[in-house]
Amino acid sequence: MSAFNAIGEEREIDRDEFTPGVEPQPTWCPGCGDFGVLKSLKQALPEVGKTPEEVLTVTGIGCSGKLNSYLDTYGFHTIHGRSLPVARAAKLANPELEVIAAGGDGDGYGIGGNHFIHTARENHDMTYIVFNNEIFGLTKGQTSPTSPKGHKSKTQPSGSAKTPIRPLSQSLTAGATYIARTAAVNPNQAKEIIKEAIEHDGFAHVDFLTQCPTWNKDARQYVPYIDIQESDDYDHDVNDRAEAAEIMRETEDVLNEGTVLTGRYYVDDESPSYTQEKKAVGEMPDQPVAERYFDEDAEWERSYDLLERHT
C-alpha cells in the first residue's frame, strides 16, 4: 500500500483544480508572456491525467519563479538558479512524482547553467520549462544571457558585447532527450508541447519565449512565429541528432533578426532515463525510497552488520 495516494489516482480532473484559491490571480504585468506558461500547464496537466497533488512544481527566482504560487500543485520555490538540483533529488526520492522544474533564462542559462548541463546529461525524467524573455525582469530590465548582442540596459549602457547563449544547441550537446521551443503567443502549440514534455521519459527541455512588455519593449512580441512542424519550408527528422543540431543553429541565428522559429527540435525516445540507468547498475531500489519510511514492516539495515571489516 502506498503512502502517497494522490499519485496515480484515477478520477475526473477539473481544470480549475490547478487554480489556487489562496492566490487565484497572478501578479505578472498585463501582457506578460508568463501567463502563457501558466495557462498551457493548467490545460496540459488535466489532459495528461495529472491531479494537483501528484505534481511537484519546483521553481527558481524571478517573475517565472512565482509560477507555483499560481499553479496549485505541491510547490517548491527554491533559490536563484537551483530549481534543477532540488527537482531531480525529489524525483530520485520518489520517482512516482510528476516533477516539473521552471525558471527564467537568467536562472537556467546563467546562474544555474551548470545544473542545466548536468541535469540534461543525466537525463532525469522531468520537464524543465525556461521562461525566456531575453531580459532580467524582476530586477528591472538588466541584460540576460539570452539578450541579443548590443542590447542596451542600465548595466550594459554601451550595449552588450556578448553573444547570446544558444539554449537549444546547448541542451542538445548536454544530453537532453526532448527539446522544444514554444511561445506564449502560440497557446495551442504551447499546450501540446508541454503535454509531450510531461509524457516524455527523460529530460524534456522547453525553451518558452515569454515576451516582457515592461522591460523588453524593444523586443518583438515573438510574432509572427513559424511552427517548423507546420511550415513547408522546414522538414527535419526530430529523431535525427544531426538534423536537429542544424535547425537549432538556424533558429538561434535568426531569432534576433526577427524570425521566430518554434516547434519540436529533438526527440530521443530510446535512451533510458536516469532512474532507469541507476536501477540498471544496482544503485537505486525498485520501490521509491520515500515509501519505505511509511512502511511499518520495512527492515532496515544496521551499521552493526558492517563491522566485520573493522575487527
Binding site: A3, F4, N5, A6, I7, E9, P20, G21, V22, E53, E54, L56, I61, K66, N68, S69, D72, T73, Y74, G75, F76, H77, T78, I79, R82, P85, V86, A87, R88, A89, A90, K91, L92, A93, N94, E96, L97, N114, H115, I117, H118, K278, E283, M284, P285, Q287, V289, A290, R292, Y293, A298, W300, E301, R302, S303, Y304, L306, L307, H310, T311
Partner: protein, 660 residues
C-alpha cells in the same frame, strides 16, 4: 579503564580508576608509538592500518594519526600508531619507533628547489620527534650512504640514545620478486624487534590477499622477522606492550562513525562532491547505500549537493550532504533555504586548514564561525561538534533526530584529524536499532485531521497550532497535503507574504524551536559535553571537537603532577550548552581554552553566548597544521595558568584574557 567519563555532570559522584603515574617520556614497554614513514603512493596507509589492527587483535588499545601531503605520488607521509594496554585517546608526545621506508616517488633534489632532498625526508623529517632511546629502522636499499652521512645520524643517535638498524628492505623485496613488498619486510623487522607474535599480522594478510601474492608476502614477512636475532643484534629494551580486551573490538575512524551514525539514523540519501577530508564519509556511504536501498549522488558542485539533499528530504527521504570548508561555503544558500522552508537535513563539515585552499590535508578548527553563521539572515540551525569516534556516531544520530523532529538543518562539524584517525571501539557499541522515523511528518490519515485553508491547501506553516515552534509537515504525493514551500517569508499555507504580523509570528516560531531543542538536550537527553578531572579543581581547560583527547590526557597528567585542573569538551555549539559551560566556568578560578585556530573562535563564541567570563578565559592556540600533543597542553597550562615565567617551546600561541 576510563580516565574520563562521558555525559558526566556536576553534582554526580563518579569513581574514577586511575593508572599509576607514568613518566612523561616513557621508554618502558607500557606504550608503543610506531611511526611508519614513506612517500605518498607507497602504501603507507594500508600497511599501517593492518599493523594497527594486528596490535588491536593482540589485546591493545590503539590510536592512529595520519600526516600526509596533498599529493598523489611522492611527498613525505607518515602514520603513527599509539598502542597500550589501556585506553589511548590521543596521539602521544613524540614517538618511540620509526620505520622509514623511503619515498619512491621523490623529486630529484636541485640546489635552488625549495623542497630539498625529498628522498631522505621519511627519515630526516621524523628525527626531531623521536624520543630518547627510540628505535630507527630505515631501508638502506632506498637511502644512500651519502644521504645518511649528511644527516649526522650516527652522532645524533649517540646523543639521544637511539638504536639504529639499517636493513636492505628493498633488496629483500626484490629478491622475492616484487619491490612493493618492502612494506611487508619492514613490518616483519618491526615485529621481530618488538618481539611480537606474527599470528595476527599473518591473519590480516590472509584476509587481504591470496594465491602467489599472499605466499610471497608471508615468506618475506618471516624472512625479515627471523633476521632479528640472526643478522640483527637487538640492543634496545622496547617491546610491544601486552593487553587484553573484555569485548570484541573494531578499528574505526571518525568518518566511519559519522557514516554509520547516518545509516542507523535511517539516512538513505547522500549527495556530494569530492573534497578532502569530507570525501571519506561520502565514499563510505556511496559504497554501502546500494546494498541498503539508498541513493548516493555525486553531482556537479556543492551548491547542487546541498540542494539535492534538500530536495530529497522535501520529497520524504532522510537525506544528507557535506563538504569541507571551501565546498561548504558553496552550500550557504541551500542551507538558508532549508532554514526558511524548515526542511530537515543533515550537513557535515570536515574542517581542514584555511583560508581558501589552505592546507588541504592538515587539521584545523577554524571553520567554526563559518558553520555557525554562513548564509544570509538570522541563523536557524543546529550545530554539534563531536570530539571522539563514539561521539561522532552518537551526535550524527542526534543531528538526524533533532533535524526531523524540529524540521531544522543540523550540522556536524569535525576535522581532518577526527576524520582520519582510527581507534578501537567495542563492537557492541554499534548494536542498536535503526531510527528511520520522519519526526514531525504526517501520514495521509493524519492530514485529514490537520488544518487546511478554505481552498483545501494544507496549513504547513501554521503558527497558531504549532507545538514547540514545530508545525507538522506533509510530503509531495500525499493526498490532502499540498502546500507551497518557499525561501521567501510565507503565510501558513506557504504563499509569499510580507505582512509584518505574519513575519514576526513565523520568525518567532522558527526561533522558538532552538529554545525547545536546548530544553530537550538539557532535560531529556544525556549531556553531549564531556568532563574530565576532579570536580573540585581550581582551574579549567575547555576545548571542543577533536582536541578533546589531547586535553583529556593533559588534564590527567597535570593532576598527577600536583596541579588542580579539570577539563570540559563542548559539543553543543547551536543551541549553545549555556547552562553547563556557565556552571563549569563559575566553578573555576581561571580557564584556558584550547583550540586549533589562530583567532580563538570558540572562546569568542562562549563570550558571545554567555556575555561574561571574559576576564577568566585565556587561549592556547595552535594552527601550524599539526594537532595538539598532550605535552603541549601541559606546557601551555604551566606557562599560562600556573604563571611560570617562560615562553612555550611548542609552536603555539597563548592569548591573554580580555582586559589583561
Amino acid at each position: 579503564m576510563a580516565i574520563y567519563s562521558k555525559g558526566f555532570r556536576h553534582g554526580e559522584t563518579k569513581i574514577r580508576i586511575r593508572l599509576a603515574a607514568r613518566p612523561l617520556i616513557s621508554m618502558s614497554d607500557d606504550e608503543l608509538i610506531w611511526r611508519v614513514s614513506g612517500g605518498s603512493g607507497d602504501g603507507i596507509d594500508s600497511t599501517s592500518q593492518n599493523f594497527a589492527k594486528a596490535l588491536m587483535r593482540s589485546g591493545l588499545d590503539v590510536f592512529t594519526h595520519r600526516h600526509y601531503p596533498s599529493r598523489i605520488r611522492g611527498g613525505h607521509t607518515y602514520v603513527e600508531i599509539r598502542a597500550a594496554a589501556d585506553e589511548v585517546q590521543s596521539r602521544g608526545d613524540g614517538y618511540n619507533f620509526l620505520l622509514a621506508l623511503g619515498d619512491s616517488f621523490a623529486r630529484n633534489p636541485q640546489e635552488e628547489a625549495y623542497y630539498g632532498n625529498e628522498e631522505i625526508k621519511p627519515l630526516s623529517e621524523n628525527l626531531d620527534e623521536l624520543r630518547e632511546g627510540g628505535v630507527i629502522v630505515y631501508d638502506e636499499g632506498l637511502l644512500s650512504e651519502d644521504d645518511i652521512a649528511e644527516l649526522d645520524l650516527e652522532e645524533r643517535a649517540e646523543e639521544n640514545g637511539w638504536h639504529v638498524y639499517p636493513v636492505d628492505l628493498r633488496g629483500l623485496a626484490k629478491e622475492h620478486g616484487r619491490e612493493v613488498m618492502r612494506n611487508t619486510a619492514g613490518v616483519g623487522v618491526t615485529a621481530g624487534l618488538l618481539d611480537m607474535e606474527l599470528e595476527h599480522i599473518e591473519d590480516l594478510m590472509s584476509d587481504a590477499m591470496g594465491g602467489d601474492i599472499l605466499e610471497a608476502n608471508l615468506e618475506i614477512l618471516h624472512e625479515a622477522y627471523e633476521m632479528v636475532g640472526d643478522e640483527i643484534e637487538v640492543e634496545h629494551d622496547l617491546r610491544a606492550p601486552e593487553g587484553e580486551h573484555d569485548a570484541e573490538q573494531a578499528l574505526l575512524s571518525g568518518s566511519n562513525a559519522i557514516a554509520y551514525g547516518a545509516i542507523d539514523a535511517g539516512c538513505r540519501f547522500i549527495a556530494g562532491y569530492p573534497m578532502t577530508p569530507w570525501t571519506d564519509v561520502f565514499t563510505i556511504l556511496s559504497q554501502n547505500f546500494p546494498q541498503m536501498g539508498g541513493v548516493s549522488e555525486q553531482v556537479e558542485d556543492e551548491i547542487a549537493a546541498a540542494a539535492l539533499a534538500v530536495g530529497a528530504s522535501h520529497a520524504g527521504v532522510k537525506a544528507m550532504s557535506g563538504s569541507s570548508g571551501g565546498g561548504f561555503a558553496l552550500m550557504s544558500e541551500p542551507l538558508g533555504l532549508a532554514e526558511m522552508t524548515e526542511t530537515p537535513v543533515v550537513l557535515v563539515e570536515s574542517m581542514r586548514a584555511g583560508p581558501s585552499t589552505g592546507m588541504p590535508t592538515k587539521p584545523e578548527q577554524a571553520d567554526l564561525e563559518h558553520v555557525l553563521y554562513t548564509s544570509q539572515g538570522d541563523s536557524q540551525r543546529v550545530v554539534f561538534a563531536p570530539g571522539t569516534i563514539e561521539e561522532a556516531y552518537e551526535q550524527t544520530r542526534l543531528a538526524f533526530d533533532i533535524a526531523w523532529d524540529y524540521q531544522i538543518p543540523a550540522i556536524v562539524i569535525y576535522d581532518q584529524k577526527l576524520s582520519g584517525e582510527n581507534t578501537n571501539v567495542d563492537v557492541d557499541f554499534f548494536d542498536r536499532e535503526v531510527s528511520p522515523d520522519l519526526g514531525s511528518t504526517l501520514t495521509e490519515d493524519e492530514l485529514k485531521e490537520a488544518a487546511h485553508d478554505n481552498s483545501g491547501k494544507f496549513k504547513r506553516f501554521n503558527y497558531e497550532d504549532a507545538e514547540d515552534g514545530v508545525a507538522s509537515r506533509s510530503i509531495p504525493g500525499q493526498k490532502g497535503g499540498r502546500y507551497l514551500a518557499t525561501g521567501n517569508e510565507h503565510s501558513p499555507v506557504g504563499h509569499i507574504s510580507e505582512d509584518p504580523d505574519n513575519r514576526v509570528a513565523q520568525m518567532e516560531r522558527r526561533l522558538e524551536k532552538l529554545e525547545k531543542i536546548r530544553e530537550e538536550l538539557d532535560e531529556e537527553r544525556d549531556s553531549t559535553q564531556t568532563y574530565f578531572g576532579p570536580d573540585e579543581a581550581e582551574y579549567g581547560i575547555i576545548t571542543w571537537g577533536s582536541s578533546q583527547g589531547a586535553v583529556a590526557e593533559a588534564v590527567d597528567r597535570l593532576n598527577e603532577n600536583g596541579h588542580s585542573v579539570k577539563g570540559l569538551s563542548v559539543s553543543d555549539m547551536i543551541p549553545f550548552a549555556e547552562r553547563e559551560v556557565t556552571e563549569f566556568l563559575e566553578s573555576v578560578d581561571e580557564a584556558m581554552v584550547v583550540e586549533m585556530n589562530a583567532t580563538a573562535q570558540f572562546r569568542g563564541l562562549m563570550q558571545k553566548e554567555l556575555g561574561r567570563f571574559g576576564d577568566k578565559m585565556t587561549s592556547l592556540l595552535k594552527f601550524n597544521g599539526n594537532p595538539f600533543e598532550p605535552a603541549e597542553i601541559v606546557e601551555g597550562y604551566e606557562v599560562n595558568l600556573a604563571d611560570e615565567d617562560r615562553q612555550p617551546e611548542a609552536q603555539v600561541r597563548i592569548e591573554p584574557a580580555a582586559g589583561d
